[in-house]
């Protein structure tokens, strides 16, 4: 009941003319970055971050989260109409979305995607509404050792169930930690890892890293693969649209299953991309209509879309209540919170009630705004995709350069962004996951502080991590997530070899 009251209070903050305007602007920008290959949600959010420094935090987070919702929807549009995923998380939508659209059922495909996406997002937000303050309440009791154990759990789940080759995930994570350590050490005040470059004392800003890794990296890949847009008709037939959405409940099994997968992957930082692939994979194995998958089967759109949006939304749950972002975009937003002077984590629910509940309420509204706007603007953004990518690419590049410079008026940042761009290109080519790298850059310092404080408390004994029931459970769960998947894999290999 208390949550309900807080939510109503949140709506009173979120429903105001400037905030609705920010939502509309943010969603439109989000659809734009979602539609354009080479610009994604993490990058779109980081490009706008410097412009929010003067805003009130609640307005700023409404703007940034709306970009996120818009990007999630925009990515699906290009997947379905052009067979080009605008976002990595909408790759799985192409498998059945594009064949359906190609068969002349574009409206049906889009309606199925948006309808199930909205359902996934709704489940995610309801989950946040019900659980976030409770989790934050539990987390308020946490000491440094418990915090470190939660971080450990988050990172282990990346390595164990993230889907990328485990050792590549380890490299990605550890590099992120090292980058986070560059500059002034917050505990001792000594300067670390600057390799003689004085300007690095302030550290490497995660926004610059995100722009390079996601922006420049994806741009290079997109140009190399020379995307050919073979568009199908993008006019919307409203009657088909409403009929399709009204018919969605018949896929209730797929909807519920995918929403559950999505929420799980969003809270443990697997992220939307892993969630959509996993959901599609499971649907393909268990659905009674599995024979039609890949040929334009509605359930093949419902499964990845629901999971994608459920994960994207619920990724904000650990960010708000624990200070651990569940996806790369959530990591960027959390970095924003710190810049605005807020301290992400359980204390937010006590100290910044307006901010937290304003954001949660805006998530309900933002997703409604996003569904409406994306339906209205499909033809416009589809037209944009007909521009040759070779014209768009230099423009996007230019925006990234300016964006990187404006983060802290530093030319070094622009050069760093170029370096991160090359790294992003290499990593994407070779299936190194990028989200753990960004996550580690953003929360690396906090994880390190938690570790060092625990060590101080225990006078250097690792025993503090098995000191009480809670911390032992967290650490054990972390090790289980880390070690069990490879163990099962090797047992499977061994069995196959014996056959």
């Amino acid at each position: 009941m208390e949550n309900f009251d807080s939510l109503m209070h949140g709506f009173s903050i979120a429903i105001s003319v400037p905030h609705i305007a920010l939502m509309i602007g943010g969603v439109l920008l989000g659809i734009l970055v979602g539609v354009l290959p080479g610009l994604g949600a993490p990058n779109g959010v980081s490009l706008l971050l410097p412009l929010t420094f003067g805003m009130a935090p609640v307005s700023a987070i409404i703007l940034l989260s709306s970009i996120y919702w818009g990007a999630l929807f925009g990515g699906s549009v290009t997947s379905i109409l052009f067979n080009i995923p605008g976002e990595p998380s909408s790759v799985a939508t192409t498998f059945d979305g594009y064949p359906m659209a190609r068969d002349g059922r574009a409206t049906e495909a889009l309606a199925t995607a948006f309808g199930s996406a909205a359902f996934g997002a709704l489940v995610g937000v309801v989950l946040i509404t019900c659980l976030a303050s409770w989790i934050a309440g539990v987390a308020l009791q946490f000491g440094p050792a418990e915090y470190f154990a939660v971080y450990f759990l988050a990172f282990s789940s990346f390595i164990g169930v993230g889907g990328a080759p485990p050792m590549k995930t380890v490299v990605s994570l550890a590099i992120g930690f090292a980058i986070a350590a560059i500059g002034m050490d917050t505990v001792s005040g000594s300067v670390r890892l600057t390799m003689g470059v004085d300007e690095l004392v302030k550290g490497i800003n995660f926004v610059v890293a995100v722009m390079g890794l996601f922006g420049i990296g994806e741009l290079l890949i997109a140009v190399e693969e020379e995307l050919h847009a073979k568009p199908v008709s993008s006019t919307i037939d409203w009657r088909t649209l409403f009929r399709t959405i009204a018919g969605l409940p018949k896929h209730w099994v797929a909807l519920l299953r995918s929403a559950a997968i999505g929420c799980w992957m969003g809270i443990t930082p697997g992220g939307p991309t892993a969630a959509s692939f996993m959901s599609y994979g499971i649907a393909k194995r268990v659905s009674p209509r599995r024979a039609n998958f890949g040929k334009g089967e509605a359930e093949g759109i419902v499964s990845p879309e629901t999971a994608d949006h459920a994960a994207g939304t619920s990724a904000l749950l650990p960010m708000l209540s624990l200070g651990i972002p569940g996806s790369a975009t959530a990591a960027v937003m959390m970095g924003g919170l710190m810049i605005w002077g807020l301290n992400p984590g359980p204390a937010l629910f006590v100290e910044q009630k307006d901010f937290v509940w304003g954001l949660i309420a805006s998530m309900y509204l933002g997703n409604i705004v996003a569904v409406i706007l994306v339906l209205l603007t499909v033809p416009i953004f589809a037209a944009l995709m007909r521009l040759p990518f070779f014209i768009l690419a230099p423009l996007i590049f230019n925006v990234c350069v300016v964006g990187a410079y404006s983060v802290s008026n530093s030319y070094l940042d622009v050069m760093l962004m170029m370096g991160f761009g090359v790294l992003g290109y290499l990593f994407k080519k070779l299936d190194y996951p990028l989200a753990p790298l960004v996550l580690a850059i953003v929360i690396g310092d906090k994880a390190e502080d938690a570790f060092r404080q625990s060590m101080l408390m225990s006078q250097g004994s690792l025993g503090i991590f098995v000191n009480n029931g809670l911390v032992t459970t967290l650490v054990t769960a972390g090790f289980a997530l880390l070690l069990l998947p490879p163990l099962f894999r090797s047992i499977g290999l061994w069995r196959n070899a014996r056959r």
């Binding site: 490299v171 090292a178 101080l456």
Partner: protein
């Protein structure tokens, strides 16, 4: 043509080298236990070591298991055609500033690579740069670098 094996090896060597640099540099900060707890080099030392070990694993695995081609010659040429002029643009920013640089870069890319007409290329380049100027310098009061050229012209 670029084989997966070569690129896997090159990337693993790159990440491994970064790891070594982190390990060496962290030794300067101390990796021991002191009165104020764990010394500040310890955490970077551990992460650096993890990077080195995991990179070695990826190097061996990539070399043994890497098969096929990750990028064609045409693909690489297209990437280079976008990236190299971009590097030149960034390198010239201290000299000619972001606005003049952006006009030249956009014009050059559109005219020479996308084969747009001279008028169209010039129009897109100028409009995009003016839009940047209006948004950043006027609306958001963020001053972008004007470069040596800007200083000379006293902008």
């Amino acid at each position: 043509m670029l084989s997966r094996r070569t690129l896997e090896a090159a990337t693993a060597i790159l990440t491994g080298a970064f790891g070594v640099a982190v390990v060496v540099s962290s030794l300067n900060n101390g990796i021991d236990w002191s009165e104020s707890g764990v010394e500040s080099g310890t955490f970077p030392f551990i992460t650096g070591t993890i990077v080195v070990v995991a990179s070695l694993y990826n190097l061996v695995r990539g070399w043994l298991r890497g098969k096929g081609i990750v990028a064609t010659r045409q693909g690489l040429q297209r990437t280079a055609a976008l990236f190299l002029p971009a590097v030149l643009f960034v390198a010239l920013i201290p000299l000619i500033g972001i606005y003049v640089g952006a006009v030249l870069y956009l014009f050059g890319s559109l005219r020479l690579q996308s084969h747009l007409s001279t008028v169209r290329s010039a129009l897109i380049a100028v409009v995009a740069s003016v839009a940047l100027y209006v948004v950043f310098e006027r609306l958001f009061q963020v001053s972008l670098p004007h470069g040596w050229l800007g200083a000379v012209l006293d902008l």
